[in-house]
Subunit: 187 residues, 2 copies
Amino acid sequence: MSDFLKKHISELIHLTDDEFETVQTFFIKKKFRKRQFLVQEQQPVTEIYLIEKGILKSSTLDSTGKEHILQLATAHWWISDFAAFFKEEISSLAVDCIEDSEVYAISYENLNILCSKLPAMEHFFRIKSNFGYVALQQRILSLMSKTARERYEDFVKQYPGFIDHIPKQLIASYLGVSRETLSRLYS
Amino acid sequence: MSDFLKKHISELIHLTDDEFETVQTFFIKKKFRKRQFLVQEQQPVTEIYLIEKGILKSSTLDSTGKEHILQLATAHWWISDFAAFFKEEISSLAVDCIEDSEVYAISYENLNILCSKLPAMEHFFRIKSNFGYVALQQRILSLMSKTARERYEDFVKQYPGFIDHIPKQLIASYLGVSRETLSRLYS
C-alpha cells in the first residue's frame, strides 16, 4: 500500500489494512513532466488526480487567448476539470504541470464503484467535495470583493512556501492582476 | 412525507417509503418573509437550506459597504454559507429572502447522523456537493474570463423565468457589473 495514499485518506476516515489494499487497486500512479497536460480543453475528462509531488494548474483561455488560472495545486490537493468530470461533458479547462509531478488517478467509473463498495470512501469523497466547494467559495468572494493587495496576502497565507516555486506571471494570472501590479505588491 | 422533499431526493437516489419517513424527521420546515435573514454575517452557521418556494440570495459586503452576490437561488436549490457550515466557522456571507420563502433546514449534526445512518443519503449529498462545486467553477470562470454581455447571457440561460422576479440592482451585483451596464445589456 502506498504510504502517501494511506496517509491522505487516513486524515479523514478509518480503514482496515485490507480495505486500504482494496482502495489502492482503484487508483493508477502516473508521472508527468513539466509542461505536460493531464487534461486538455475541449476533451472528455475521465479522471481526477490526487497530487503526491509537484505543482499543477488548471486554467482556461479567453477569446483573446489570455490565460486565466482557476487552481494552483501541490501535494495532497486534488485537481482536474471537476465540472466536466462530474457532468461527463467535454472540458472547458486544461490541467498541466508547472513542475515534474506524480499523481494518483481515479476514473469516473472506479470512483463510483469504490464509493458503493466502501461507504467510508463515499463519506471521504463527500467531505473532500465539501472542502473543494469551500475553496471555490473563498476564491469567488476574493475575486468579487477584495483589492489586489488583499488577494495577494490571502494567496501567500493559503500557499505558504509555494510562492517561490511558481512563475510570477502565473501568480498574477491566478490573482487576476497584471504582472506590473503584482510587482508593486511584492515590494 | 413531504411530496416536495421526496421528489427532490428521488431525482438522485432510490429510497423505500420507510426510509423517506426517516429522512424527513431530520429536516425542519421553515417559513421566512421577504428581507428576513436565514444567515447573518459573522455568526455561526448551523443549518443548510433546501428551498421549496421563493427566491433567496447569499451575499457579502466589502469594506466600502458594497454588496457582492455569490448565489441567487430558487426552488430545488440549496443555500447557506456552506464554507462556514462545513468548516464550523463564523459566516462571511449573509443569506436573506428576495421574496417570501419556504425551506427545509437540516443541521450539521443531523446531516452527519443521516449520512451515517443511510448510505444512500451520503451518496445523495456527495453528488449534490459535486454539483455545487460545478456551479461555483462555472461562476469563477465566468467572472474571470467572460465579458459582461457573455455573463448576462449565461445568467439568462441558467435562470430561465427568473430574471423578471429579481430587482435589476441585484442582477447587476450578481454579474459584477454596474446598473448602467446592465441596462445596456438588456436593450
